[in-house]
Symmetry: C5
Subunit: 97 residues, 5 copies
Amino acid sequence: MLIAKVVGSAVSTIKDEKLIGVKLLVIREADEHGEAEGKPLVAIDTVGAGVGDLVLTASGSSARQTDITQNRPVDTVIMAILDSLEVDGEITYRKSA
Amino acid sequence: MLIAKVVGSAVSTIKDEKLIGVKLLVIREADEHGEAEGKPLVAIDTVGAGVGDLVLTASGSSARQTDITQNRPVDTVIMAILDSLEVDGEITYRKSA
Amino acid sequence: MLIAKVVGSAVSTIKDEKLIGVKLLVIREADEHGEAEGKPLVAIDTVGAGVGDLVLTASGSSARQTDITQNRPVDTVIMAILDSLEVDGEITYRKSA
Amino acid sequence: MLIAKVVGSAVSTIKDEKLIGVKLLVIREADEHGEAEGKPLVAIDTVGAGVGDLVLTASGSSARQTDITQNRPVDTVIMAILDSLEVDGEITYRKSA
Amino acid sequence: MLIAKVVGSAVSTIKDEKLIGVKLLVIREADEHGEAEGKPLVAIDTVGAGVGDLVLTASGSSARQTDITQNRPVDTVIMAILDSLEVDGEITYRKSA
């Protein structure tokens, strides 16, 4: 799963009816320190994530394995908010309280 | 989902019969300002998108989860037209009226 | 879907029995002018494409959604031959007669 | 399958209920010598891997083909710990005892 | 499908039980001349390929469409050994006898 940072949101009025009622967040891939890098992507949120959160995303058919996303034409889902990451024996990221 | 800009269209006469009647648009991946970049791809349109629109696309098996694309040999679908994007607290894109 | 140019063919005698009888073409990804670029890939042809044709390909599970490719261990299919591409208001590619 | 090195772990409290009880490890893609390179990813462990292990990972829908991961919104699974790799006639990696 | 060269093998004792009995080969993506390039990957062999062979691989769910790989957590399969490749009217690769 990719580590990503939530950086914003997207609004769409004209869309497939299966996208009605889902929350569209803009994310960027992030490193182990929670620093966003790379291009913006749009993901469906299923866990109440907000701007600034470091999250995990699943792609492809795996993105449709949540109650919210099943059978929808979506290929990226946020399904976890990260509390912390430990890499090479150090805490590299900790969610601010 | 990728953010993409619709830049053109494709015409094909000789094709799998499951592609008959679908609209083929040429898109390029875009950034949060709606600026197109990168190589051209072809996507199936399901929402009446046109040249100049900023859209969302789903790839892979997720591209087949709309009424128009189910069971078809297509791996990229346009399933939403973007009204606006907000990144880092700023509106970075707004559809022109 | 990727825009690709057919540049050659592949021959294999020792293969999974589900590959018997399919036509293996060598393709390269192409731009909107039909210029091939990038590395060679092998795709299953389902539409009678030949060397020099500009085609569309579907990848992943979508590659198995044609009558010819269903249930086969193939991840790239040619399912359309392009007649023309229009990008930014110009015809950038037209199939020669 | 990618060759990857386990470099750490991830903790998440707020997550899809299908992620409860799975172990989240941070991995980096590795070369034939077991040297980690590239960006960190998060994978579900199914074989008791730990930091320092060189492992194999499966992505996409294939990541859901284990007893632990089936039907879960996960796109990367660790399903083997490598003992050794032989490339070009040389043992390039051997797990330390 | 990717063109790849078999360059070695991998050994794993601790693994998902669905991986018991499969042959793990190390491959590198190759060009039309059969020259290996890029990083090593691990693939399941289904056709008796050996080091030095130029092969075709299928990825993702397509990798599970052989009798040997079905329902297994594997995302790359070798399902054909190449005899020859012809690109731009020239034989660029021919298997040595």
